[in-house]
């Protein structure tokens, strides 16, 4: 039994940056993620063109999605949810959409010859560790900057109080990136294995499972981002402690 899900994405073509000897590889996951981005941006432009006070059509759909996400975000972050929503909702929509795009027929199964080797032309974007790591690093940087801006003193004091905070702080992007990558890659391998064991009807069940996993992982990535952001921008513990004590008296 041979499994055709390589861990590394295959470069489709490469070019040298003029004037340097830097080689830029354009991989199949990059091409797929560009398609996903174009579709999402196209949806965004189409939905916000000629906005009306009483929404209809695409604008209505977009507003429904945003209101749903805002409601979820307010459960975690309360009144600050609105300021975190642009990053969190973008991450959610992008991860969700690219996970579902990745299980469309054709993605992963169209093969092309690249430098004499067979490679998929399209591939689920999140089965590339580079993409998930890039998103996790964006979240990491954003959380640090948000924490530094919200309460600069607490930002440094927490490391002095408990040096293990450093470990927890740096393990977050690692686990964020590996969780998404591992889930999506393992899902692809699972479907591939099932396809080899029972080629008829059975893989459809696992494709359904993959759709669920894709949605849940997008939700988890977004909610963890939100939780990290709201933890980082929380006002100092001593202050809130004093407040509750004051209220108790």
């Amino acid at each position: 039994m041979e499994i055709h899900v390589p861990i590394q994405p295959a470069p489709l073509f490469d070019f040298v940056v003029p004037g340097t000897n830097l080689v830029v590889y354009v991989t199949n996951t990059m091409v797929t993620s560009w398609i996903v981005m174009l579709l999402l941006i196209g949806f965004g432009i189409a939905a916000t063109r000629g906005m009306k006070l009483a929404p209809s059509g695409l604008q209505n759909a977009a507003e429904t999605i945003i209101e749903l996400l805002l409601g979820l975000a307010e459960q975690v972050a309360g009144s600050r949810a609105r300021s975190f929503l642009p990053l969190v909702a973008t991450l959610f929509l992008y991860i969700w959409f690219s996970n579902w795009f990745g299980i469309l027929p054709g993605v992963g199964s169209f093969q092309g010859l690249v430098h004499g080797e067979e490679a998929s032309v399209l591939r689920s974007p999140n089965s590339d560790l580079s993409l998930t790591a890039a998103m996790a690093l964006i979240v990491f940087a954003w959380v640090q900057i948000a924490g530094l801006r919200a309460n600069p003193v607490e930002f440094f004091v927490k490391f002095l109080k408990n040096p293990l905070e450093l470990v927890s702080e740096f393990s977050r992007p690692v686990s964020l990136a590996l969780r998404l990558f591992g889930n999506i890659l393992a899902g692809g391998i699972l479907v591939e294995v099932m396809l080899q064991i029972a080629p008829i009807a059975v893989p459809a069940v696992f494709l359904g499972l993959e759709m669920f996993v894709g949605l849940v992982q997008a939700l988890i990535f977004a909610i963890l981002t939100l939780a990290f952001l709201s933890l980082a921008t929380e006002h100092g513990h001593s202050e809130s402690h004093a407040e509750t004590e004051h209220a108790a008296h």
């Binding site: 861990i7 590996l178 969780r179 591992g182 393992a186 939780a227």
Partner: protein, 76 residues
């Protein structure tokens, strides 16, 4: 140690043993959340998100094991 005939066993053991803990953990989170929802159905909305987050943290450990298993398997 060069990759030998026991290397696939190592990969299998890595993910197999690594999935025990997270399996128990996710089961505990799920059972307690269902209990809470059953006792207080109005709270299901507020219980659901923390449940998902808790499961995600437990699941991350299994994913680490999976990554190790894939790394071992890639060496064969």
């Amino acid at each position: 140690m060069p990759p030998g005939e026991f290397t696939p066993l190592a990969a299998g053991l890595a993910i197999g043993l690594g999935a025990i803990g997270p399996g128990i953990g996710i089961g505990l989170v799920g059972s307690k959340a269902m209990e809470a929802m059953g006792r207080n159905p109005e709270a299901s909305g507020t219980v659901f998100l923390p449940m998902i987050i808790g499961m995600a943290f437990a699941e991350a450990v299994a994913i680490y094991a999976l990554v190790i298993a894939i790394l071992i398997f890639g060496k064969i």
